[in-house]
């Protein structure tokens, strides 16, 4: 009973029109869940609702029916008995006549008709009755938008779900639908209506069926929407966009061939419209419709379509942009607009469909013929009028598409137009067999006509793309009997000769030389026909390569030509690679790659090395095989030059080898690495570098200069880092053996652990401070290997290496310090059972680094280094703190510590804290200014550093150490991203201000001061920062006011004043008390010696003066 009364309550609540929408939803949910959980059957709900469904009160009845309908919508997947469904659909069908309570009826019908078969569905006959009732009773266009939408959804659902049942209604259905959709304007409803049409025409596919007589009527309704004119602004909350509507309408247009007599004339008419979107739409629709309607139906429109198509292309093509960015595209490609793109794709579609008629139209077209006849009257591109250029371009595009579409169309184009063109150009048929080029007496006697060659290139590139686009299918079936092949074979010699002669005579007048373009593009197309010897012979192909190659090696002063030729060669190379043309690949290798490689090692002064390398690395990108060859060639050159350096100390070779290494590591290696699969070569390179060092016992010491060392290190790093762990292991073993056997370093593991060892007398006088150059060289290279390896790679004798790096970094070998930092970063923390490839843990390494002691003799010579825990020596920490009383040593120690700190930072290791403390101790106790900039290594550790620094600052008693700490703080701060600082702005501002006032006193700190001020201005201009600033407004303003007269840096004064301007935006209460003071201070800014400062001062004064008063006291 309780449920019963609840139910009544919910129903009452739903029919009460004064309730809010959330209340309505709540009561609907309550009722629906009762039904869902079987607490209430749908039958008893209907019984319970009885009165509400039948009362004569329109409003209550409408709400009641809607409630029932909504409940049905909620239980769509719940199984219902067929009898129940029958009676429910009967009820709602009936209610469709009740226009005052229509919403509920529509929702109910829709909910029932949408049901899936597992939950019980409406029978076909019931659906038919519902449809009948719909057609009889509903005046769709007189309803509101939402009801109309429901009506269309219902109709759409009937057509989709019960096609057979509704089809029986025949003419009535078609007529009813026409009536319902006529003059619909709402976009969402239109999407539905377009789909309804599509579904409808599928019901009556018979060309003599009921639809046939109505096709005209339906299209009359549909046609007026074309082209879609969409006035809803973009920002409005409409889900449907113009494109959606346009697509939906297009599929309605093309849904049945019965529309063809109406659609095509309409589209052709709209194509002549001046509206761009209308043209584009017409072309798209034509393309879509012609594919759906089929070739037969389209034939009768071919003539009309061709003429509008041609007009569209002619009127919308721009002037071709030659070489705008020295880009040589595949074939001739220009920036086409949307109309042209659509028009050309339509043309392609039509040619595929009905070949002969359209082709004969194209070949016989008067515009085409006119262009052909006029080509002879122009010699140069620039002679042609703008209109002429556009026409030429348009016809070129048309011919390209025609040639590209099919073999048949290609044959026709070549048979009629190409042969005529050849005549016009003065070429005659030639025997194709073999080396006719040599004995050929054909010499282009006069300048060739640009237009003719241009058209020839378009046709050839169409033909080429036709063959290349279809994989091997067409190529295999091609024979000389095909007209296009025959033509190509006959004229290829003349064409190549013509293009070549154009290039030979071309001057490098300007960047936009159309001759160069034509020549290069023509040769490139001729060289990129698939097939090793057919349709373009190997002989001709090789001839083209030779032509290009001679440009590369001798015409590098003509930059445009050279670049284009190089690009063409790269394209040819990648084309060969893509089509696996084995014979051509070997020609390419032989003529281009081998020659270029030999040119590189050739020591001639004609072609600059950089130019050679540019060509070489570019050619390499056209295929892995070529790149490998080139890599090997480069390696040979590198090694021969290196040995020249090592043995003879040849300074010229240094220069060469640096460039070679640069090219190898920046261009070749990254490309190989990206493509993958050629690791062996890279590994071998790194390995060979070590072998060579090993074999060169005598270094010609004086030439080992920094530039070469850096280039070699870079190359080794690149090479090693692109190897796998296994190969890295091989390389590092090799490197280690060289290091161990070829240097004076002693790497016996036992010796420094057991007892202290004597190093090679590290004298601490600057003169004797140097390692032998050869040792340093090898050590630096070894360090770069260590830096590049993966953490998993095994570093041999790791303890000795750590030790070696540690001692050498004290001698100022920076790579050693970096390598040590990198090792720290890669070592595993604590060997908790996990597999450790290096038998040394991070902790162990750290202990070693910080516990190793160093001894000095009386003369301050670093005597021994090693041993743990002995108290008589000094450790790295002490060195940093300056115990050894040797500045150079201390600086080196600190720089090493910084790199170790960086490694720890990346590991996130606790020890970093200790390192930081050492650092800060250095700062407070020592006089090492040089350590301060190194603080920026720690900026990633900002949140830890700041509290440490803060507490140190508080505790420090001497003003000197405090000032150093402040400086450290500034260094960290100015390198930290603003976002991080903003998060902590409140805490930081007091220190920041202390720093500011401290730095104000010292001239050498002016740049530091400026950096800090920029941080402050960053905080000020950020929304979150402003909150933090507000609290300290008083102090900040005071501080900034003193900076207005900071004499040593204009930028500081300017920025301080800008900060003050920003401060004037803060809440009035906070800043008002300061106003008079600020105005007084800023008046000094008005009299600044620098104009920029004065200008800012005027702005600032205005900002502060106007915060309080409407009148400004002067």
């Amino acid at each position: 009973m309780a449920e019963q009364s609840h139910l009544t309550q919910h129903i009452e609540s739903f029919v009460d029109s004064s309730r809010t929408s959330t209340q309505l939803a709540a009561s609907l949910d309550a009722v629906a869940s009762l039904v869902k959980t079987d607490a209430l059957t749908i039958e008893s709900l209907v019984r319970e609702m009885g009165m509400y469904l039948t009362t004569t009160d329109n409003i209550v009845r409408a709400r009641g029916i809607l409630l029932l309908a909504e409940v049905l919508k909620c239980i769509e997947s719940k199984h219902l008995e067929s009898a129940t469904i029958h009676s429910l659909i009967g009820f709602f069908t009936d209610r469709l006549a009740d226009w005052k309570a229509l919403r509920g009826a529509l929702v109910g019908c829709l909910a029932l008709l949408k049901r899936t078969s597992s939950a019980g569905v409406v029978t076909g006959s019931d659906a038919k009755v519902a449809a009948q009732s719909y057609l009889q009773n509903l005046q769709v266009q007189s309803l509101g938008q939402h009801d109309r939408k429901l009506c269309f959804e219902l109709l759409d659902c009937m057509l989709e779900r019960y096609p057979k049942a509704v089809a029986e209604l025949g003419d009535d259905l078609i007529y009813g639908i026409c009536e319902a959709i006529d003059a619909e304007k709402d976009p969402e409803c239109l999407m539905l209506t377009f789909h309804i049409i599509e579904s409808l025409v599928q019901l009556f596919p018979d060309p003599s069926g009921p639809l046939a007589s109505f096709a005209g009527d339906i299209f009359e309704i549909l046609g007026c929407y074309f082209p879609i004119h969409f006035t809803h602004p973009k920002g409005e909350n409409v889900d449907v966009q113009r494109d959606d509507l346009s697509r939906a309408l297009m599929s309605a247009f093309s849904s049945t061939p019965l529309f063809e007599p109406f659609v095509i004339p309409l589209l052709l008419e709209k194509m002549s419209s001046s509206l761009q979107s209308s043209k584009v739409d017409s072309l798209k629709y034509l393309s879509n419709c012609s594919s759906k309607y089929g070739g037969d139906r389209m034939t009768k429109h071919a003539r009309a379509i061709w003429s509008s198509l041609k007009d569209a292309i002619l009127s919308s093509l721009q002037e071709p942009v030659f070489l705008s960015s020295s880009e040589l595209t595949d074939g001739l490609d220009f920036q086409d607009n949307e109309i042209v793109t659509e028009a050309l794709s339509l043309l392609e579609q039509l040619i595929m469909q009905n070949n002969d008629l359209l082709l004969s139209l194209i070949v016989g077209d008067e515009d085409v013929n006119m262009i052909f006849n006029s080509t002879t009257s122009y010699e140069e591109y620039n002679d042609i009028s703008l209109q002429g250029k556009q026409k030429l371009h348009a016809i070129g595009r048309l011919l390209y598409i025609t040639a590209k579409t099919s073999i048949a169309s290609c044959n026709i184009v070549f048979g009629s137009l190409f042969s005529r063109l050849m005549d016009l150009l003065g070429f005659s048929m030639r025997n194709t067999s073999g080396d006719s080029l040599l004995i050929d007496d054909y010499v282009p006697s006069e300048r060739l006509h640009f237009g003719g060659l241009y058209l020839a290139i378009e046709m050839l590139s169409g033909f080429r793309n036709l063959i290349a686009g279809s994989e091997n299918l067409i190529l295999q079936s091609l024979s000389e009997h095909e007209i296009c092949c025959g033509m190509l074979c006959s004229f290829s010699t003349s064409l190549v000769k013509a293009f070549g002669s154009i290039l030979a005579t071309s001057s490098n007048n300007g960047p936009l030389d159309s001759d160069i373009y034509i020549g290069v593009a023509g040769l490139q197309i001729m060289a990129t026909f698939p097939g090793d010897d057919f349709p373009v012979t190997k002989y001709i192909f090789e001839n083209i390569l030779v032509t290009f190659m001679s440009i590369i090696t001798s015409e590098f002063n003509k930059l445009t030509l050279w670049k284009l030729a190089l690009k063409a060669l790269v394209r040819i190379g990648s084309f060969i690679d893509r089509f696996h043309q084995s014979e051509r690949a070997s020609s390419y290798c032989h003529i281009i790659v081998d020659n270029l490689v030999s040119v590189v090692s050739l020591d001639d002064s004609i072609m600059p090395l950089l130019v050679k390398l540019e060509a070489l690395s570019a050619i390499g990108t056209s295929g892995m095989n070529y790149m490998m060859k080139i890599a090997r060639g480069l390696e040979e050159a590198i090694f021969s030059n290196l040995s020249d350096v090592y043995v003879h100390g040849n300074l010229k070779s240094v220069e060469i080898v640096v460039q070679l290494l640069e090219c190898y590591s920046c261009k070749v290696l990254p490309w190989i690495h990206e493509k993958g699969g050629a690791e062996e070569v890279v590994m071998q390179f790194a390995f060979n570098i070590w072998s060579q060092i090993e074999n060169c016992l005598d270094f010609s010491v004086h030439v080992l200069e920094k530039g070469l060392l850096n280039a070699t290190m870079k190359a080794i790093k690149f090479a090693v880092s692109s190897c796998s762990v296994e190969n890295q292991n091989i390389i590092i073993q090799k490197a280690y053996s060289v290091l161990a056997s070829n240097t004076s370093f002693q790497l016996n593991e036992s010796m420094f652990i057991s007892s202290s060892i004597e190093l090679e007398g590290l004298q601490l006088s600057p003169k004797a401070y140097n390692l032998s150059q050869r040792d340093e060289w090898i050590l630096s290279l070894f360090a770069s290997v260590v830096i590049a390896v993966y953490p998993q790679t095994h570093i041999p004798n790791i303890r000795a290496i750590l030790h070696l790096f540690l001692t050498t970094l004290l001698k100022g070998v920076v790579p050693a310090a970096k390598a040590l930092g990198s090792m720290i970063n890669k070592l595993v923390q604590k060997s908790n059972g996990a597999e450790v490839s290096n038998d040394c843990t991070l902790e162990e390494a750290l202990n070693m680094i910080f516990d190793t002691k160093i001894w000095f003799d009386d003369n301050g010579i670093l005597k021994r280094c090693g041993g743990l825990g002995n108290s008589s020596g000094v450790g790295l920490t002490d060195l940093c703190l300056g115990v050894a009383n040797n500045r150079l040593l201390q600086v080196h120690a600190i720089s090493g510590l910084a790199w170790i700190g960086k490694g720890l930072l990346l590991q996130g290791h606790q020890k970093l804290r200790d390192v930081t403390m050492i650092f800060l101790d250095c700062i407070t106790s020592g006089r090492i200014r040089g350590a301060l900039p190194l603080m920026q290594h720690f900026n990633g550790f900002f949140s830890t550093m700041v509290p440490i620094l803060q507490s140190l600052i508080v505790r420090s008693d001497s003003s000197f150490s405090r000032s150093l700490l402040y400086r450290a703080f500034v260094h960290i701060m100015s390198e930290t991203p603003l976002v991080v600082i903003l998060g902590d702005a409140k805490k930081l501002i007091p220190i920041l201000l202390d720093c500011l006032s401290m730095l104000t006193e010292d001239i050498p700190d002016r740049d530091l001061l400026y950096g800090l001020l920029l941080v402050l201005s960053g905080i000020l201009t950020d929304k979150n920062g402003q909150e933090a600033v507000t609290e300290n407004a008083h102090i900040i303003i005071n501080c900034l006011m003193t900076l207005i007269v900071y004499p040593h840096n204009t930028l500081v004064r300017e920025t301080a004043i800008q900060c003050l301007v920003a401060m004037s935006e803060l809440p009035h209460v906070r800043i008002y008390p300061m106003r008079t003071q600020v105005l007084r201070a800023i008046s000094k800014g008005l009299d600044d010696s620098r104009r920029a400062v004065r200008q800012e001062a005027v702005r600032c004064r205005q900002a502060w003066a106007s915060i309080a008063s409407r009148s400004l006291r002067c």
Binding site: N1049, T1050, L1086, D1087, R1090, R1091, S1111, L1112
Partner: protein, 158 residues
Amino acid sequence: MVSGLINANPILYEKKERRARSAPSVADEYAVEPIDQQEIFDHIRDIKDPEHPYSLEELKVITEDAIEVDDQHSYVRVTFTPTVEHCSMATIIGLCLRVKLMRSLPSRYKVDIKVAPGSHATEAAVNKQLNDKERVAAALENPNLVDMVDECLAPSFN
């Protein structure tokens, strides 16, 4: 207030191009850049005419040549040319010029504002009024006048 505009149809002139200053040499941080004609002109060129939405520069009420400045002796004189001879806005324009310069120049400066000779019917009276400290101070006590001046000056602060 007069109901119609005093000069309903002023002639507009092109704005002078903003000359970019050659960047101060980085080498000498302590070099002095004295206040010059162009700087003064930059201060006042964008002041809006009281009755038109145009700047004084566009109306050629002021030109760069009509500014005399002596930084050493802290003296500046601006001579302006009202668009019509009987312009009753001349005093307002003069007041705007004076206020703007007072706010933009160091306090050591003495500012003279003059109507160009022969360009105004009551030239002497206007000049006297503009250079009388007491009268200027009194004018700035008048809230209506101050509002007007502030409105004219607003574009020159951007």
